[in-house]
């Protein structure tokens, strides 16, 4: 038995608590063809920032702007070469304050 469910913040409000200095260039690049052939899609579940969104045409929509730079996506990805991952340009990306 768990306590009565309490309202959780909406995901975009959750992400709005974090400062991101968005780099001009994406630091993570997906190979759309490889993603379209992927059936397991672990990135969609595991990414803590929920940046990987399946699209109607069977692909993956990806947004690098609110990335924690944790590395989860490329580690769980089991399709060789689908995710090219590096750190954002110096000075850009996530800025934690109270974590």
């Amino acid at each position: 038995m768990t306590a009565s469910p309490r309202p959780e913040v909406a995901f975009e409000d959750r992400m709005a608590t974090v400062e991101f200095r968005v780099a001009p260039e994406a630091h993570i690049v997906l190979d759309g063809d490889v993603c379209r052939g992927c059936t397991t899609r672990p990135c969609v579940t595991a990414c803590p920032a929920n940046l990987f969104v399946p699209t109607a045409d069977g692909g993956i929509l990806f947004n690098y702007e609110e990335c924690f730079e944790c590395g989860t996506c490329y580690l769980v990805c089991n399709e060789e070469g689908a995710i090219r991952w590096r750190y954002p340009e110096g000075g850009y990306g996530v800025v934690f304050r109270r974590s």
Binding site: P5, V18, N50, F68, G71, V76, V95, F96, R98
Partner: protein
């Protein structure tokens, strides 16, 4: 950058700043690169910094470290969906110098430690990402490339403190292939609450703090959970084994939400307003999953070297980062003085780690990560223990009491646990923690 340094340290987290501090104090010209706009801006953690490793580096560190609270209450909790069992330890001894552990904000703590390195003469270069290793004509590492214009930084020693994803250690060939089973994902919410309310809920006063480590709260994903107090906020989070998270179909924030809704946790976190959500990988593989630590011209320290101790009841990382970073700094000083920064010249690094707590603890507890994340420790034993305690304290008059051993035997019978597995685990626990 056009300047030649004696050493370049990549990453101004606790490992990098400790390494740079030691080098700068020895009069060496050291660059400390940080890809974030300030040290600590990329970092989060799961609860407690154990600061005694700073005693020799920064005597009386506790008088100036940016602390949130000093942990005087350490609670270990075992949860099932409907039950909880706690071992709640409190001591006044941890509330006065030299203290035991503190909670802090990593952006504050890391910036403070980097400031110490800077004050000793290290050149902190923030907002600069190291993009690769520089090699001389013979192929030997001789510095790093960065994303700044004219951004090559040459130095006979590179110390890679570039975190859990360490691209430098990978580029140097020191890492085995990336295996998600060696990592966990930590995801955390910082929730604002008035200071007095935190004091009341956790029964604290002044700058006393509480740290709860929780087993059994992550369902079918092996891992753990934590809850700890800052000055005027609390932090609640989960640690999730990566390959199971990928398979599991449940998202990290959903698992945090379930934890927060548990009857044993909900009253402690109620009404807290989300201040910051964060996530980071943790290298949990332990001793047997560590990369190579030394090669010609390169040392690897901190999370980059996989130096998080995750041994069931102990969860530590910042202290191992500082310990390994300082040892790397000392080994680099030694190698530079001898004019030999080859792997042989830098061998003092591993020697220091092996004779100190860093590798002694990791080797001693090398079996712990696998054991702690095993299905039996994660799911079977918490239920058996909770059910056994429940049975022990349930009075079924007119039925007479059964006695502890019989209760335990009955509980064991209810599960499909095989006795030989239980005995093997008990033996492993004894061997691991003896």
């Amino acid at each position: 950058m056009g300047e030649t340094f004696d050493a370049v340290v990549v990453g101004a987290g606790p490992a990098g700043s400790a390494a740079a501090l030691v080098l700068a104090r020895s009069g060496r010209h050291v660059a400390l690169l940080e890809r974030g706009p300030f040290p600590g801006s990329k970092n989060m953690y799961g609860g407690v910094v154990y600061g005694r490793i700073l005693d020799t580096l920064l005597p009386r560190w506790w008088e100036e470290v940016p602390v949130q609270r000093w942990v005087t209450r350490r609670t270990t909790m075992v949860l099932t969906e409907t039950q909880s069992l706690s071992v709640d330890y409190r001591t006044e001894a941890w509330g006065s110098p030299p203290y035991n552990g503190c909670t802090t904000f990593r952006p504050d703590f890391d910036a403070w430690l980097a400031g110490k390195a800077e004050a000793a003469g290290a050149v902190l270069v923030a907002s600069t990402t190291a993009t690769g290793l520089l090699r001389d004509h013979g192929g030997r590492i001789c510095g790093v490339r960065t994303d700044r214009p004219d951004g090559d930084v040459e130095a006979p020693v590179v110390i890679a403190c570039d975190g859990v994803n360490s691209f430098l250690a990978k580029e140097a060939g020191l890492y085995p292939s990336a295996d998600p089973g060696r990592f966990t994902l930590g995801a955390k919410e910082v929730l604002a609450l008035p200071r007095e309310e935190i004091d009341r809920r956790f029964q604290l006063s002044g700058d006393e703090g509480a740290d709860f480590e929780i087993l059994g709260a992550t369902g079918d994903i092996p891992g753990g959970a934590f809850l700890y107090t800052n000055a005027d906020s609390i932090a609640v989070g989960v640690v999730l084994e990566l390959s199971a998270l990928a398979r599991g179909g449940r998202r990290p924030e959903e698992i945090i939400a379930e934890l927060k809704a548990h009857r044993a946790i909900a009253p402690l976190v109620a009404g807290g307003e989300l201040e910051e959500y964060s996530a980071h990988l943790i290298p949990e593989g332990g001793y047997d999953a560590m990369p190579g630590l030394v090669t010609d011209g390169l040392l690897v320290a901190g999370d980059a070297a996989g130096l998080c101790l995750v041994a069931g009841i102990w969860l530590e990382g910042v202290n191992f980062a500082i310990g390994s970073g300082a040892a790397a700094g000392e080994a680099a000083v030694e190698a530079l003085a001898a004019g030999d920064t080859s792997a042989a010249g830098l061998a003092g690094y591993r020697r220091r780690l092996e004779t100190g707590f860093v590798l002694r603890d990791h080797e001693k507890f090398r079996r712990a990560p696998k054991l702690a994340l095993s299905d039996r420790v994660q799911r079977v034993y918490p239920r058996i223990v909770c059910d056994a305690v429940e049975e022990l304290f349930t009075v079924r008059n007119p039925e007479p009491k059964k006695g502890g051993l019989r209760v335990l035997r009955n509980e064991l019978k209810k599960t499909d646990l095989r006795l030989r597995d239980a005995i093997r685990d008990a033996w492993a626990i004894v061997r691991t923690f003896k």
